[in-house]
């Protein structure tokens, strides 16, 4: 599967998330407190809400609509009403750019 150039690494603050749309789909790109980068589906698995509008706390993302929580490193749902895991995607950094394998 191709590696897609999503954004500059500096576009994402530490312990934060941004939205990345590609090919008609929406993804969420995260920068963790230990400066690692991660990517999940961009829309909550519970109901339609963009996770990039939510709050990153440590290694978790909280959905802005109903406060469902996911571990963005694994996609695991951690708190109701989120019950279904998010899909995750491999991420690498090259020359200061964030690349996602989609």
């Amino acid at each position: 599967m191709p590696w897609i150039d999503a954004c500059a690494a500096d576009d994402i603050d530490e312990e934060d998330v941004i939205r990345f749309d590609h090919d008609g789909r929406s993804f969420a790109l995260y920068r963790s407190p230990d400066d690692s980068f991660h990517c999940t589906d961009g829309i909550c698995s519970h109901e339609h809400a963009y996770l990039a509008e939510g709050l990153v706390m440590g290694y978790e993302i909280e959905c802005p609509k109903h406060n469902g929580v996911f571990d963005y490193r694994t996609g695991a749902a951690k708190r109701a009403p989120a019950c279904d895991d998010l899909r995750t995607y491999p991420v690498k950094i090259e020359a200061g750019r964030v690349l996602v394998e989609l």
């Binding site: 109901e47 709050l55 909280e62 802005p64 406060n67 929580v69 708190r79 109701a80």
Partner: protein, 357 residues
């Protein structure tokens, strides 16, 4: 629109889905990401302080009530205890259900369980019904938490102040759940994997109430029931007084919280009991902002919202005549004026023609 059908399986439920009102994209005031992130930041300290104060006050009032029991001199202490049990716990249930009261998750969960018990709201069922309330706020047939249905009925509204309607529904529902079954409406919003939790909680509660009743019978005194259970009735009035103002008299079947929710400035005691939910437009627009940050959020976005009511009496003076009119004509609602600095209501989404650009 004819007579509204508020059931989750009725004609209005189907109509809301057809009209695109279910799980729709709602209006949000623009707030820069960095500012919103700061507002959403969690903390333990404000809720630890408020929770310590709440439980200390409850213990103090209950102790005074017990000491003076059965004299009428105990009544003021029971009234104060009752408001904290039957009204302050409503806002604690609400805030902890959102997971925003504390930064530490187990603290949220612990207070959520206690508050759910006090309010006789099954912690699983109501977590899901409240999620639906936020997805489909005041959408008829979709929102299971519409407090004032149209046309309003005076007797029902009056009974709410003494918690009788809620308790009359909660006890049979608790017994139904404890028997291992869910109401068909509950099954529409609780995912299957979560349903056993609702049944487990109901079974624990039945044991607690059975023990309380047994203690009352054994001692030949109402006192155990004054502490557990009855405060949900005699202390409910404050959460109804404030809660009716959240959406009462305003529009339904719209997808802009400025049209269906009300922000009201309140006195500090009511704000403590209500945990700042008087900033209700702000809460619905941004449910991730903790209660203690709502005043700051209000300052940031009030240019885009209808002017808040100046006090509880002011808000009731606005709402009550609207409810009276809805008793005659259920189509009536208050459309609150926006300030010139606000973005206009999105008429295209509310059944009116799109104005020319």
């Amino acid at each position: 629109m004819g007579k509204r059908d508020y059931s989750m399986h009725g004609t209005d439920a189907a109509r809301a889905v057809e009209a695109g009102l279910a799980a729709a994209e709602w209006y949000h005031t623009d707030v820069p990401r960095k500012e919103m992130k700061a507002l959403m930041t969690r903390a333990d300290q404000p809720a630890l302080r408020d929770t310590a104060l709440l439980f200390a006050a409850m213990i103090g009032f209950a102790a005074a009530g017990i000491a003076l029991w059965p004299s009428w001199a105990s009544a003021p202490f029971w009234l104060a205890y009752g408001v904290l049990y039957g009204s302050a716990m409503d806002s604690r249930w609400h805030e902890c259900g959102h997971g925003t009261a504390f930064k530490t998750r187990w603290m949220n969960d612990a207070l959520y369980q206690v508050a759910s018990f006090c309010m006789m709201r099954n912690p699983t069922t109501w977590r899901w019904s409240h999620a639906r309330h936020h997805t489909d706020t005041i959408i008829v047939g979709r929102d299971p938490e519409i407090a004032i249905m149209r046309p309003p009925e005076v007797l029902k509204l009056a009974l709410a102040f003494i918690g009788l309607r809620d308790v009359a529904q909660a006890i049979p529902r608790m017994l139904l759940n404890a028997s291992g079954r869910l109401h068909p409406d509950e099954a529409t919003w609780i995912p299957e994997q979560e349903q056993p939790k609702a049944i487990r909680a109901a079974r624990v509660w039945v044991r607690i109430y059975a023990a309380t009743i047994a203690l009352a019978l054994w001692t030949g005194s109402f006192l155990p029931l004054m502490l557990v259970g009855l405060p949900r009735i005699y202390g409910a009035w404050h959460h109804v007084l404030t809660g009716f103002l959240q959406h009462g008299g305003l529009a339904d079947n719209v997808i802009d919280h400025r049209l269906n929710s009300r922000t009201v400035y309140m006195n500090p005691v009511s704000r403590f009991i209500y945990w700042n939910m008087n900033y209700h437009v702000e809460h619905h627009m941004f449910p991730m902002v903790p209660y203690h940050a709502l005043p700051a959020l209000h300052e940031k976005i009030k240019h885009d919202l209808p002017a808040p009511n100046r006090s509880m009496p002011d808000a009731w003076r606005e709402m009550w005549p609207a409810l009276r009119r809805q008793m005659q004509n259920e189509e009536y609602f208050l459309e609150r004026a926006l300030p010139p600095t606000a973005k206009p209501y999105r008429l295209a989404l509310h059944g009116a023609p799109v104005p020319a650009e």
